[in-house]
């Protein structure tokens, strides 16, 4: 099966808390030998960057780099769900795809199940891909309209050279587990509703019995009554198939609901990472606080005071110096423009990290910040 080759000793930099404090630099070799518990870590990312060149003119000259993901360290433990939340353009989907090497990282280390993903190629990469799958938001765009559900779901098995008759058994089995009937196998994607198509997407991922699934906004396009069906299904399937999820979404309540730990991203960086409970109870980063307070809750009378951020997210082509959030931050100080804050623990224990010089400072309600835009 998998050729475990060239295991990098660099993951030893992880100290066990799930996160290292180095943000932008790739950690150098640990020095003290291998870390104590890489067994629990399914996926480990160190200093992952993904830049896209910005080209203009007829000569397509590269005039800049869009820093979609700019130095992310993340450990995902076996059996947990990590949520990745942020607004559009923060790099959360790019990070998810880069971790699977669907996008080639610009820099950084990615280890999956002890194997350095970046060094894999050809057959080994294909074998590895079996264990890491992705479910997309757009169930119309990601399912070929000319293929039947049987072929769509069986496609991965075909690529991995399973015989047709075994394939069909496996397809029917997985369809049943995602809540679709056997007769669905003969039909085409357009004959299904959005929620059912999302189940087909899940079946496609699950049929290969992966260890890890990146779910990229899997419920964002669905109506609420269907959203809850799919969320419940994701929770059940995780148990049943011993899965580990990276759940990418913009809806904080949904991410918090399904995740054990949540990473908040802003402009290509993780700004806060904590367990779901902890993040909601004691948000440390002002951006997390703003996200929480902006979330409209269907509870009338609970009209909390809002932290209304001024302006828009700056361009990731030319991000602000120092802390990237400072241009919209209600508590920004001169130091924030000069020194980039590291993603480090504060008073809340080692597992709650935030990248802010003034982490935990309560935000003044209605605080106005000079409009930099």
């Amino acid at each position: 099966m998998l050729a475990v080759r060239a295991r990098s000793p660099r993951a030893a930099g992880a100290s066990g808390g799930g996160v290292t404090t180095e943000v932008s630099a790739i950690p150098e070799d640990g020095g003290q030998g291998p870390g104590p518990e890489p067994a629990d870590v399914l996926l480990s990312a160190r200093g992952v960057k993904k830049y896209f060149p910005v080209r203009t003119g007829i000569l397509k000259r590269t005039v800049g780099q869009l820093q979609a993901v700019d130095g992310v360290d993340l450990d995902i433990f076996r059996g947990e769900t990590v949520g990745l939340v942020g607004e559009s353009g923060c790099g959360k989907s790019t990070l998810g795809r880069t971790l699977l090497r669907l996008l080639e990282p610009t820099a950084g280390e990615i280890e999956f199940d002890g194997v350095d993903v970046r060094r894999l190629g050809g057959r080994d990469l294909k074998a590895m891909r079996r264990h890491m799958q992705i479910v997309f938001q757009d169930s119309v765009g990601s399912l070929d309209p000319r293929m039947t559900v049987r072929d769509l779901v069986g496609e991965g098995l075909r690529i991995h050279r399973l015989e047709r008759k075994h394939r069909d058994v496996a397809v029917l089995d997985v369809l049943e587990r995602v809540g679709l009937s056997a007769e669905a196998a003969g039909r085409y994607p357009h004959q299904f509703s959005g929620g059912q198509r999302q189940r087909i997407g899940l079946a496609r991922a699950l049929v290969l019995r992966p260890k890890f699934i990146v779910a990229d906004e899997p419920v964002s396009a669905l109506d609420v009554s269907i959203q809850s069906q799919v969320l419940n299904l994701l929770v059940e399937l995780k148990q049943e198939f011993d899965l580990t999820y990276l759940f990418v979404a913009h809806d904080l309540a949904v991410v918090g609901y399904i995740s054990d730990r949540v990473a908040v991203m802003y402009l290509g960086k993780v700004v806060e990472l904590a367990t779901s409970e902890e993040l909601f109870r004691r948000p440390l980063h002002p951006y997390t606080m703003a996200l929480l307070s902006a979330n409209p809750e269907p509870v009338p009378g609970r009209k909390h005071q809002r932290v209304v951020l001024t302006g828009d997210v700056p361009s990731p082509i030319d991000p602000p110096s120092g802390c990237r959030f400072r241009t919209r931050c209600p508590i920004a100080q001169p130091i924030c423009a000069e020194v980039e804050p590291l993603l480090v623990p504060h008073d809340e224990g080692p597992d709650h990290v935030a990248a802010c010089h003034f982490a935990g400072t309560p935000i003044q309600v209605g605080a106005q910040h000079a409009d930099v835009a």
């Binding site: 109506d223 009554s225 959203q227 809850s228 069906q229 949904v254 779901s276 509870v299 951020l309 997210v313």
Partner: protein
């Protein structure tokens, strides 16, 4: 005559080979001057067609069926001709849409487009109209409005474009603003800005708002009265606080219970509504929610429940025939 807008028995549908396909099937509601009403429903519930009908923006093969009444201060919009409608649209009723990019013309500056509506509706000259555009842009919180009035839509962010749409809509002091999913395409922090802006402008200008959205959270923040739609019908309506605290229709109850609130965890499964919203081609007989309802009994399948009074709400459910029922909302408010 207290209501600003009174919609009565609105039926809007589309002429197809199979006959008249109803998307909105007998919807009634009213809005007081300066009031706020939210229409909430999932896709296919008919909420957007309702909004478009009020604006009379339904194009063939769609049409508003006879017998529908849309009364704006007593005048029946459903019976007006195009010319008279032109005087009302933009002037007395204005509308903003979900996607400001497609509603704005990419080849004109935003200032130009705001000015155009002022010129058209209020007969101002070009110079005054442009001044008014700057004034409106300032009102909706666009920084350095004098410069940005020269911007083209693509030079602005989604939030700014929605502000331009609001500026345009409000430039003629409408009595009613219809907002169809105004923040659905926006990020939460920008959505918060736009919602705050709409609230503030409503207080300042005193217009009524008809807000169409699928987002119960936005409804809770923005409006006083809510209409819940399902399969072309109103299933429940009443004051937001009452409807959300004690939903009388099983659909409202299930909808509220299916949304994760901040702080809820996966150890508590969410309420799922089985099945899917039926298409207008296959609306069931009797109560349209009955096939998906946890409480349905024989009568629900045969007889269509009317809106029954359960003060301060109304609910189209047979369980409400003898007064309020106790909803089983399990939501834990953290």
């Amino acid at each position: 005559m207290t209501a600003l807008l009174e919609v009565e028995g609105l039926r809007t549908g589309f002429d197809t080979r199979e006959g008249f396909l109803r998307a909105v099937d007998g919807v009634s509601f009213e809005i007081a001057p300066g009031g706020t009403l939210g229409v909430v429903g999932e896709s296919g519930s008919g909420k957007s067609v309702t909004a478009l009908s009020v604006m009379r923006l339904i194009d063939r093969p769609g049409r508003i069926a006879e017998g529908s009444r849309i009364l704006l201060e007593g005048r029946d919009l459903a019976a007006l001709g195009e010319r008279e409608l032109g005087a009302i649209r933009g002037n007395e009723i204005a509308m903003i849409f979900q996607e400001p990019m497609t509603s704005l013309n990419p080849v004109f500056t935003v200032g130009n487009q705001i000015a155009e509506s002022v010129r058209l509706h209020q007969g101002l000259g070009s110079k005054e109209a442009l001044d008014r555009a700057v004034e409106m842009m300032r009102l909706v919180g666009i920084p350095s409005a004098e410069q940005r009035v020269q911007d083209y839509p693509h030079q602005m962010s989604g939030g700014m474009r929605q502000r331009v749409m609001i500026a345009m809509a409000l430039s003629c002091n409408p009595k009613l603003l219809i907002a169809d999913e105004p923040t659905t395409a926006l990020d939460v922090t920008v959505q918060a800005q736009i919602l705050e802006l709409m609230k503030e402008l409503r207080e300042r200008l005193g217009m009524a708002i008809l807000l169409i959205t699928h987002d119960l959270g936005v409804i809770a923040e923005m409006v006083d009265e809510v209409v819940v739609m399902y399969a072309g019908r109103v299933v429940e309506r009443g004051p937001v606080a009452d409807v959300f605290a004690s939903p009388q229709h099983p659909y409202t109850e299930a909808l509220l219970d299916s949304i994760p609130l901040l702080g809820m965890r996966y150890s508590t499964p969410l309420r799922a509504i089985r099945g899917v919203v039926p298409s207008p081609l296959e609306w069931p007989t009797g109560c349209r929610f009955a096939p998906r309802c946890d409480y349905a009994f024989d009568r629900c399948v045969t007889e269509d429940p009317p809106l029954l009074p359960v003060p301060p709400q109304e609910s189209a459910c047979w369980l409400c025939e003898h007064g309020r029922r106790v909803p089983q909302v399990r939501r834990v408010v953290a």
